[in-house]
Subunit: 213 residues, 2 copies
DNA sequence: ATCCTCACGGTTGTATGCAATCGTCCGTGA
DNA sequence: TCACGGACGATTGCATACAACCGTGAGGAT
């Protein structure tokens, strides 16, 4: 693996974990020094992340960790629903029962720590990512990944409630069981509800925050 | 504008115009010499185009103009339909009548040259791009642009028939008129038919080509 | 006091050179 | 004749140096 990718992975994690919160200014030189590299690979990494919508980059301007406003979020979630519906459609049509069995096994036990660990966001995203991968499409996973990258920072607020974590787990298993029965309509319906519920929650907490200042 | 962007724009056009057909190998040095630049900006441009799915790029491997197979095309068109439906939804909901009037005026006259000019593909894409822009979303246009980039090479075969060009023009105006009446359901229906018709046509000619060798 | 000008520091854009790696081709052996 | 191995060439990965540009702040004019 190239240095460029290593740096991109590290920065991406730091952004997603909110170590670098939205609005943070980033310079090529600063990162280069920090990682003991030259500007060249760092530069490539930053361009990569900008393309993933994690950074904002205009020519001859600073890099900045991007944020999402309420307006975009509506679009992003609608896209997400549309794309994940397509995932369900493909899975049912291709009857990929084996992969689904593995997924169900992986999710058969409820999450261990429900003490508001933000890492459970990653677990939820891993589920959806695995589902996308099981669709067998080469187009859907990267598109969904891009959407979720942009939503991630917002979703970090989404799992502070242990009750909510459990509900998410139950919804995931319900979706998988519907898929195992090849009941595409039910699976899609459950998935829609699951995603929009997340939307409502994030939207509420976000508007509360935006109303403050 | 930076050299990187200039080069990216030129190469993008050459790929979309099939001057660089799918499968063509590209080297940084070759392009650098051709444009009288160093490898650095050329390199950035190639990375950019790879991110737009116009080039394939693996670390330490050649760059290659990407092609689309039948399998991916199904996905790409389904995505396109889903996204453009969303565009219609947004336009109707926001009642952006002004922009639509401009669009209709622009398309009020049938295309001048119907002699199989491949540039009419660009006209069709310009229509859909304008429609996406009229949605007011900051999310939809780039996503659709990415999809269309990947489909473009295939669609070049799509407009050799003058009758088809006229039909496309008629469908566009019909969609716009439905939107002006805020009839979202009709507009979406027409749009779906319009896109899937293109799909059928391209799919048929592509499978014919793939069957040959 | 406010606005404008201009120069400076900092940051990105580009060029060049070297290192690392991969594909290819030739030669050798079975 | 075919398979395997190694060396060469070509290409990308990375480092460094310089150029161009932009925002920012000080200083002066109004």
């Amino acid at each position: 693996m190239t240095r460029t990718q290593q740096v991109a992975d590290e920065i991406r994690l730091e952004i997603l974990r909110n170590v670098l919160p939205p609005g943070t200014r980033i310079t090529e030189e600063g990162l280069a020094e920090r990682y003991g590299l030259s500007r060249t690979p760092v530069r490539e990494a930053l361009r990569l992340l900008a393309r993933e919508s994690l950074l904002i980059h205009a020519p001859r301007a600073y890099y900045e960790v991007s944020s999402v406003n309420l307006d975009e979020m509506d679009d992003l979630y609608t896209m997400r629903v549309a794309l994940e519906e397509r995932v369900v459609e493909r899975i049912v049509r291709s009857g990929a029962a084996i992969d689904l069995g593995q997924l169900l096994a992986f999710w058969s036990s409820p999450p261990a720590s429900t003490d508001g660990d933000v890492h459970l966001v990653f677990a939820d995203e891993l589920f959806h990512e695995s589902l996308a991968a099981a669709s067998g499409s080469t187009v859907l996973p990267p598109m969904l990944r891009n959407l979720n990258n942009r939503l991630h920072a917002l979703r970090m607020r989404d799992f502070i409630d242990p009750a909510r974590v459990l509900r998410t787990y139950e919804q995931h298993t319900a979706i998988l069981q519907a898929l195992l029965k090849s009941d595409g309509r039910l699976a899609a319906s459950l998935l829609r509800a699951h995603i929009w519920q997340s939307y409502d929650f994030v939207c509420a907490s976000l508007s509360a925050v935006e109303a403050q200042p």
